[in-house]
């Protein structure tokens, strides 16, 4: 009997070790931690460029009322992007570290840090639930993740109202973002699947990639707020009233795109739309070298 008890204990331990699902914090299938250098597109840079975005009428109306001078308001000068957008624009150097509980020092998930405006996102993988819908919304929201084989999949809620593009296409505070992180050797691809019934008619999917760069040094991001009135007259909130956005047609005219197509919508995302565009009017172009502004 004395010899059997240790054997039983050993067997129980063996069985527990074999079923990793029992652990509150599942060990990662793939190591995503490290310094990742961006290889990021910067599309949707022009006012009036809603191409390929499945926005609805409400989203379009909000986007068309957005004025670029809003970026110069004191409250917006150091405003970060929500991380699903911040990871895709600017110079989005990325650092991923293990997140430890501040008191117990036990692992609870992963932490993302991005250079521009220094947003941080913690992806909890210890089984905790999402907070109440009434809990405060944050720039990086609240995220819980799990492994699907070797892919980290996480769901983000509680995001502040923000933008889908740098030119004012809105995202509501009720949006949810499913993110998939897949490591292919030293390449990291992140796929964002954005659900926002307030402004989108279907999921909006986009991808970005990073390359492992162990020597990358992410600098700090000091941001200074200029006093109210220094750039935009005090008390003024720049915007366009419905139907009065006088720069909306610049983008489609510059690039020879039918105005209707530039306004986006799910239909514009599919190959059939190429045929349809041939039946649409295109404003005469004054040059075919507008792209040189940013090249």
């Amino acid at each position: 009997m004395r010899a059997t008890l240790p054997l039983l204990a050993l067997l129980v331990l063996l069985a527990a070790g074999a079923a990793n699902a029992q652990f509150a914090f599942a060990p990662p299938a793939v190591d995503l931690t490290g310094e990742w250098a961006p290889r990021v597109y910067n599309t949707h840079m022009d006012i009036g460029d809603y191409t390929g975005m499945p926005i609805n009428e409400e989203g379009r109306l909000r986007a068309q009322s957005w004025h670029p001078d809003q970026l110069d308001l004191p409250e917006n000068l150091c405003r970060p992007h929500p991380i699903d957008h911040g990871l895709r624009v600017s110079v989005s150097q990325l650092r991923i570290t293990n997140e430890l509980d501040s008191e117990t020092r036990l692992p609870v998930g992963l932490r993302l840090h991005v250079w521009w405006q220094e947003p941080e996102q913690v992806i909890y993988m210890d089984g905790r639930p999402h907070p109440s819908p009434n809990a405060p919304h944050k720039w990086s929201g609240f995220s819980t993740g799990r492994w699907e084989r070797n892919t980290l999949v996480y769901r983000t809620t509680h995001l502040k109202e923000a933008y889908l593009s740098r030119t004012g296409v809105p995202k509501s505070p009720n949006a949810e973002v499913t993110t998939r992180m897949h490591r292919y050797g030293n390449l990291l691809t992140i796929t964002f699947i954005i659900h926002d019934p307030a402004y989108l008619t279907q999921p909006y999917i986009r991808e970005s990639s990073w390359v492992l760069d162990p020597n990358q040094v992410i600098p700090t991001y000091p941001c200074e707020i200029t006093p109210e009135g220094a750039i935009v007259p005090a008390g003024k909130v720049p915007s366009f009233l419905p139907g009065q956005n006088d720069v909306l047609r610049d983008f489609p005219t510059e690039y020879g795109i039918p105005f209707e197509a530039a306004l986006g919508g799910a239909e514009t995302m599919y190959p059939e739309y190429i045929k349809k565009m041939k039946t649409m009017k295109v404003a005469p172009r004054t040059t075919t070298e507008h792209f040189r502004r940013t090249q």
Partner: protein, 276 residues
Amino acid sequence: MARRGILLVAAVALLLSVHIAGQGRGGAQNAPPATARAAAAFDITGYWVSEVTEKWRYRMLVPDKGDYQMVPLNPEGRKVAAAWDPARDQTSGEACRSYGAVGLLQVPGRLHITWQDDNTLRLDADSGTQTRLFRFGGSPPPSAEVSWQGSSAAMWGGGEPRDRRDGFGGPAQDPTGRLAVVPAQRKESDYLKVTTTRMRPGYLQKNGIPYSGNALLEEYFDLFSDPYTKNTWVVLTQVVTDPQYLIEPLIMHAHFKKLPDAAGWDPTPCRADEPR
């Protein structure tokens, strides 16, 4: 009697633990599947349609000559891009330059993916009416000739040996919240990797942004279903390495939504001056 009961429980526990461990490691003692089809990480067959949500004006239109934003072209590449002449391509038998392996999946259209045989995936694209063959197992292509679609070697990726701390990327908590060391997880294949060489020189974009015959194309296909809409997509990451025209490897993406059938299949010839 009591001792016999304890031994019986012990034997059952031992069997159970071995059974669970075997499952967790994917049955390491089992022989690997004999064919790529049997070993498939996911079912990529069927009809798919491009969803163009980024780089829209580069894909849904023919971009302007010289517009190579976001492409790390070197001076030689810029020189070639500046000499692009779609009319000449159309009349000189080079109309398929933008439908080669590198550019094909950036061209909006539909795909039909099938198993040609147990070790060859076949991808048909209606845009340009092109066919790519992804050969598994290192079998050489029947012809060593260069072609628009080149020669593609395929593998199910993700199950390769661990990098650094994969599977140990930090300690784990046991059910009571204590620090624990867990056995390594076996990595299972979960993506399709395709490596393509021996391509005819072609275009990365419809507006004559070149890649050379020495280009190396590495592609990663990932498949997922969206929990809200239940739709399925394939996400493609492409890495183009071409020192002749690129300063550094170019990374491109595209994604495709699963379709129930062939509706909308619209084969087109190669056209140098059309988006698809």
